[in-house]
């Protein structure tokens, strides 16, 4: 199982899902209306490292974070 957390304004509690790649996770999240609208403009981190490829393998216990548009300062 992979833990998915939704940062900042997404305002949703973490969920646990069964996915072995980011591409699989993407398909699962697209079906969640609350989350789907954030996918287009959110960055993705796996275990606190920003990632850029959907092919990335996920292992049980991995933590995936969705980071919506930012504005510090």
């Amino acid at each position: 199982m992979v833990k998915v957390e939704f940062l900042g304004p997404i305002g949703k509690s973490p969920i646990e899902v069964d996915a072995s790649t980011l591409a699989e996770l993407a398909e699962i999240l697209k079906k969640d209306a609350e989350v789907a609208k954030w996918l287009e403009n959110s960055a993705v981190a796996v275990n606190d490292t920003l990632v850029e490829s959907l092919e990335m393998k996920l292992n049980s216990g991995d933590r995936v974070s969705l980071l919506p548009p930012v504005c510090g300062g």
């Binding site: 940062l7 900042g8 304004p9 850029e52 959907l54 980071l67 548009p69 930012v70 300062g73």
Partner: protein
Amino acid sequence: MVLIYKGPIDVDSLLSRWYGAEHNRNYGAMVTFVGTVREENGIEALSFDIYRPLLEKWFEEWKRKLEKEGALLAMAHSEGDVPVHTSSFACAIFSPKRRVALKMLEAFVEDFKANAPIWKYDVVEGKRIYAAERSTPMAGSGLLAKGK
């Protein structure tokens, strides 16, 4: 390490602390940036969420970049509510050369705005409203919207 304040930054003591720690280490130039909450659109405050693990990584990368130029970077940011006319962000660069400090301050602050994992909310009548229009998707955003 990024200094995180719960609420507004005590700017006087922060700048005094930074200057005090570094002025005798032979840096010829200190530049600082302080961001203060403006009164506009009827807000009472801004409020911030921070994702600390990634903020720390982002900051340490900048720190290393500046170290290669012989310069030192320091940063503080607020979490939670920061009332109008108080400050939520401060940074300082110490450098032997003034040009490095001036150039890097601008580059750092612009990248901070675009990529530091911090979320901003307007506080109006006690309610937190995400500042969606002023926010920027981080580099690499939209990955999970791709695919089939």
